[in-house]
């Protein structure tokens, strides 16, 4: 049995909605930074979306970028300060819609940064509009009849876009259970270890519930991820160069 204390980076209560997965992800990210003794050196690049709510509550140096451009900012920071752990923290609308180009090109250049991409399948902060990651038939405020993939394309699987690139680490996890949370924490740790050993681009996509905009009770949100979302976005490690193997 070990102590489970709130990590030092969580300096204030978070501002997310009840049942939001960001709260869990914030905590495990903070735990990893503490355990790796990186909290004092880390520089985070956030853009626009619910992730912005971390700027006052998650106590590392933050730089806020224009919507979608977090990976480009992180590139500028990391090239200038290669000794510092530099990470992006973005939602799927931010990183995969408006910021698809910046996200992909950071991976394409194999920038030595860590990307935390939180996928809840919608634009959360603006009220639950359809995102590239929304599922076929998913009802959102901008796909009221359900997402029509003939008109809007298939759900964007960012892992499939990146897995053949020359990058350091790529994994997808979820926060639906103790087991999954512990596993995604391991992924995040692997990602930062990749970066700190100069292993190149590392990305962890995390399937996360948005009970508010999904209009689901929190417990049903977790079930929805396990039963449905993961069929489109399978969990696991996809690229792993160096480091220990755990799966």
């Amino acid at each position: 049995m070990v102590e489970r204390l709130i990590p030092t980076a969580l300096v204030e209560d978070n501002k997310f909605c009840p049942g939001c997965g960001h709260g869990i992800i914030n905590r495990i990210l903070a735990e990893v930074l503490d355990e790796m003794k990186l909290t004092d050196k880390a520089i985070g690049s956030m853009a626009v979306g619910c992730a912005c709510l971390m700027v006052d509550t998650f106590g590392v140096d933050w730089i806020q970028s224009p919507h979608g451009r977090a990976a480009a900012l992180a590139t500028g920071i990391k090239r200038c300060r290669p000794e510092n752990p530099v990470f992006t923290y973005q939602g799927d609308g931010d990183s995969m819609s408006i910021g698809f180009s910046e996200t992909m090109y950071a991976a394409f250049r194999n920038e030595n940064i860590t990307a935390i991409l939180v996928n809840n399948g919608i634009f959360g902060m603006t009220g639950g509009q359809m995102a590239p990651t929304s599922l076929p038939g998913q009802k959102t405020v901008t796909s009221p009849m359900g997402r029509n993939t003939d008109l809007t394309g298939q759900p964007l699987n960012i892992i499939n876009q990146m897995k053949d690139l020359n990058i350091g680490y790529l994994a997808r996890g979820s926060v639906t259970s103790i087991k999954n949370i512990n596993r995604v924490k391991k992924y995040i740790r692997n990602a930062f270890e990749t970066q700190m050993s100069g292993g190149g681009y590392s990305m962890v996509e995390i399937l996360s519930p948005c009970p508010t905009n999904w209009k689901m009770m929190p417990d049903k949100s977790l079930e929805h991820i396990d039963n449905t979302v993961t069929t489109y976005y399978p969990l696991g490690e996809y690229v792993k160069k160096g480091g220990d193997s755990n799966e």
Partner: protein, 355 residues
């Protein structure tokens, strides 16, 4: 120091390096690509960083990141690319970070064309991005000024913690003149008060719009830009002491106008010239200081529609006619400027108004 014969773009890029710029992110577009080409080789030589970004949007955001890390940093673009930079410029201004932006103007809206022009004036000086910000805009007219004002731009960006724009054009970019380069200046990024470098034992930094953290932000930001406006006007006045008509032109066009002034004087026509060196703040003081002999003005612009004319009108205490010579896409001939100016002097005497 020995003079060096350099192209405008190369000289500008070398000036940035010597000003301590150690990060450049940018995207190719004619006629500024030589700045990228030069820095792709030069930055590694001085321990700096060069990234050819996937777009101007990414390039300016990389610059934003490097500025937040405390580095002296720059991007450059032209026309269509300058439009894409506006997002990042607005964010950098809002975060009160220093950065230097270069726009080597080319002709036209949309795709336009690659030859010299001055059509980005409004976008440059009226704030092309969203929200409430201003940028000091320097308009070099020679290769030496490309060097001098790029150097100054880095100092002013640091002084005000604000992006500063150098508005060059395709002519200055590609021509060569002798330059006297400054000594190498090293900038210590760790001494930048705003630099993100990890919180260490102290409080964490939030490099975002400063409006979130400043009481009475409206007053604060207005005071900041009022101070810039009051203190940063620069201009050159040529033969204005007894002028009847004063030409107003900046950058490459001002040099043609200078030749026109000399030509006019040979013919006994009393022309003068005000050359704004800063386009924002526009040198209103230059106009307030003019003698009573000046009865009218004529702007000379490398664009098919008047732009500077508007700022000249705003700078005049009394309503005097402000004519314009719109050269469009063609380099004007000094003699043509003199002839139109002479005509305007006559029109003014007859009470004709602007246009």
């Amino acid at each position: 120091m020995a003079l060096k014969l350099m192209k405008g773009n190369d000289a500008l890029a070398e000036a940035a390096v010597r000003a301590g710029c150690r990060f450049f992110g940018g995207y190719p577009i004619t006629p500024q690509s030589e700045i990228l080409e030069y820095l792709s080789k030069r930055m590694p030589e001085v321990g700096g960083h060069f990234v050819q970004s996937e777009s101007e949007l990414a390039g300016i955001s990389m610059v934003h990141g490097a500025a937040a890390a405390g580095f002296r940093t720059m991007t450059s673009s032209s026309g269509p690319g300058f439009s894409l930079l506006q997002e990042g410029i607005s964010y950098i201004a809002s975060a009160e970070l220093p950065a230097v932006i270069i726009n080597v103007q080319r002709y036209g809206s949309g795709l336009g064309d690659i030859f010299q022009a001055q059509g980005d004036y409004f976008q440059a000086v009226k704030g092309g991005g969203h929200g409430d910000y201003r940028m000091i805009v320097y308009a070099p007219a020679s290769i030496q000024e490309n060097v001098d004002f790029t150097t100054l731009a880095f100092d002013k960006a640091d002084e005000y913690r604000n992006p500063v724009l150098v508005l060059s054009d395709a002519s200055i970019a590609s021509m060569m003149e002798p330059v006297d380069l400054p000594e190498m200046h090293e900038h210590d990024p760790n001494k930048s008060p705003h630099a993100a470098k990890g919180k260490g034992n102290g409080p964490f930094k939030r490099i975002t719009s400063t409006m979130y953290y400043i009481d009475d932000f409206d007053t604060y930001i207005k005071t900041k830009y009022d101070n810039m406006a009051a203190n940063e006007e620069r201009w050159e006045a040529v033969q204005v002491a007894d002028a009847e008509l004063v030409l107003v032109a900046y950058g490459i066009t001002s040099r043609i106008c200078k030749e026109a002034v000399m030509l006019a004087r040979e013919k006994g026509i009393k022309l003068g010239l005000i050359r704004p060196i800063t386009l924002w703040p526009f040198p209103a003081k230059a106009f307030k200081a003019l003698p009573d002999t000046v009865a009218s003005f004529m702007t000379v612009e490398l664009s098919p529609m008047p732009m500077i004319q508007e700022d000249v009108l705003l700078s005049l205490d009394t309503r005097k006619p402000v004519h314009n010579f719109l050269a469009g896409m063609n380099i004007p001939e000094p003699i043509d400027i003199v002839e139109k100016a002479a005509d305007c002097i006559k029109q003014t005497a007859k009470g004709a108004c602007n246009g």
